[in-house]
Amino acid sequence: MKVEQISIFIENKSGRLAEITRILGEAEINIRALSLADTSDFGILRLIVNDGAKATTVLKEAGFTVSKTEVVAVEVPDRPGGLSAILQTLDRETINVEYMYAFVERCGGNAVIIFRFDETDKAIAALEAHNFSMLEGSRLYNM
């Protein structure tokens, strides 16, 4: 149920995002979802791509610091209160969300939200117990 995300360190200077997307484009890697967290000095670009291993290799060759993180892709009913139900469940189980962002594509009638939890396995178990649907990585990468 875990999805592989790659994170890239970027200094806050012009052209870095363009450089990363150029490298990925030339390697024919497709970005499936992304989130950019930034401070005044630096940013962290988080990506889900169709080929994480290849993306990691080409970015490292270009001199970037890259790391892999396990995240969870949860299907969220596309209606008012859909996300709230998930978050309330997690709150009751005292699981912290480090960050989250939306996936580009919809899955059936549902939106897909990427979650980074402090305790990934516990979160998966809790979501399964409450019948929330999660997506396998293999399915997500090629959606």
Binding site: Q5, S7, F9, A37, T39, D41, I44, T65, V66, E98
Partner: protein, 433 residues
């Protein structure tokens, strides 16, 4: 005006005869009492007897800061510990500080030279001296303090920090002389302005500024904003502390070095040979009256020049020019001495940090800033902002704890810091002094 007119205006031949006599006596003493000098002279194939003229000083080997570190804490002392009445040490070093000891006579001499320095700067008995140099192991505070008392002035031992209180006391106590670092004087003036106090309306008449490099342009700015005569003072704890050399208010052109206590030389830092009068090079000082820790041909690493031209003030002592840099990589940041190697030692002690770093020094407003750039490698990297921010804060805190200097840590992409080709460039100094 002089504090000790006889010695300050001693004709050169008499001054040089006095220097030779005091030098010879110092050499005999250190050769007999300090194993380091015995070994160092023997290794160079010289004994104190080779010095029959002042020129012969060049035959003797140099003493370096490393020699002092190797002698930690007391091995270079030439007087028995029971005669040492004061111990100071250099501030902000990793590992071991540089330790100096003073006999009562040393303290008395230092007080006199500092009193002479006050008078040279235009201060006199009756002045209220606001001494904002730090008190403690650092020589600045106590050195200026004893000199002020010897002069017979009223000294306010305010020490550094707490700017608002400094301003209040200067205003309420009627301070007439200010001693601190030049950048701190400007900082205080700005802080005062923010509180609606114009420094130009205070009673300050003279400012004696040292412990960090500054410039003629900065002098102009200080004199304009503080409405006082800004005087450059030089000293270093190894040699004595503040008051080794000072400008005279009459000329404000070069710092008189008290030659009846110190013999200055200027050398080419690469060859060790003396340069011609007026040429720039590294200042080397030999102490000729000190008892606690006499130093023979001590390499200060400060770059300056030396002139024996007569000065309009009447003092016969040679003048060194304003310090123009260092022959090593030491940085002076807000008056704190910092070697890049010390920062490197702090960084590599933090797990995961590689010794690829860059120091960017700048001056924002009136105060120095230090940015420490650290490369983020895979070991340090996290997908969470808070982890990286806590890394920055840790770097800042450890540098502050170890070196006493405030910095900002900046995380940069790997390989963005130039790799060493021979000697790595670790420092970018953007200060326009």
């Amino acid at each position: 005006m002089f504090f000790n007119e006889e010695y300050e205006t001693l004709p050169r031949p008499a001054l040089e005869a006095l220097q030779l006599k005091r030098l010879q006596s110092t050499l005999e003493r250190v050769y007999a009492n300090v194993p380091f000098y015995k070994a160092s002279f023997d290794a160079a194939g010289v004994t104190p007897s080779v010095v029959t003229h002042l020129e012969d000083l060049q035959k003797l080997p140099f003493t370096t800061k490393q020699n002092m570190r190797d002698s930690y804490p007391y091995a270079l002392f030439a007087a028995p510990m029971e005669d040492i009445v004061r111990i100071h040490a250099s501030s902000g070093t990793t590992g071991k500080p540089t330790v100096v000891g003073y006999t009562l006579k040393d303290i008395n001499n230092w007080s006199e030279l500092m009193a002479r320095s006050f008078v040279s700067a235009g201060a006199h008995k009756g002045d209220i001296i606001h001494n904002a140099y730090g008190y403690g192991l650092f020589t600045g505070g106590l050195g200026a303090h004893y000199g002020a008392e010897r002069l017979g002035a009223s000294v306010i031992p305010i020490s550094g920090g707490n700017t608002k209180r400094q301003i209040m006391i200067m205003q309420d106590f009627g301070s007439t002389v200010l001693t601190c670092t030049p950048s701190y004087s400007l900082f205080m003036a700005e802080e005062a302005k923010a509180e609606g106090i114009d420094f130009r309306n205070l009673k300050l008449r003279v400012g004696i500024f040292g412990a960090e490099p500054w410039s003629e342009a900065m002098r102009g700015e200080i004199e304009e904003k503080l409405n006082l005569a800004a005087i450059d003072i030089y000293g270093l704890s190894e040699i004595m502390g503040p008051g080794v050399a000072i400008e005279c208010i009459e000329a404000k052109k070069g710092l008189h070095i008290w030659e009846d206590h110190f013999i200055p030389e200027i050398i080419n830092p690469d060859t060790g040979q003396r340069v011609a009068e007026g040429e720039f090079g590294e200042l080397v000082i030999t102490t000729i009256t000190k008892q606690g820790i006499p130093l023979i041909r001590y390499r200060t690493r400060d770059i300056t020049s030396l002139t024996y031209e007569p000065c309009i003030c009447g003092r016969t002592h040679a003048r060194i020019s304003r310090m123009s840099g260092r022959s090593d990589d030491m940085l002076i940041i807000r008056g704190v001495n910092v070697f890049p190697s010390q920062i490197e030692a702090v960084l590599v002690s933090i797990e995961g940090i590689e010794p690829h770093y860059m120091l960017v020094v700048d001056r924002v407003g009136t105060l120095d800033t230090l940015e420490v750039q650290v490369e983020v490698n895979e070991q340090l990297f996290s997908d969470e902002i808070k982890v990286l921010q806590s890394l920055s804060r840790r770097v800042e805190k450890e540098i502050k704890d170890m070196l006493g200097v405030t910095c900002t840590a900046k995380l940069v992409e790997p390989k963005t810091i130039q790799r060493s080709e021979g000697k790595a460039k670790r420092v970018t100094d953007n200060r326009k002094l």
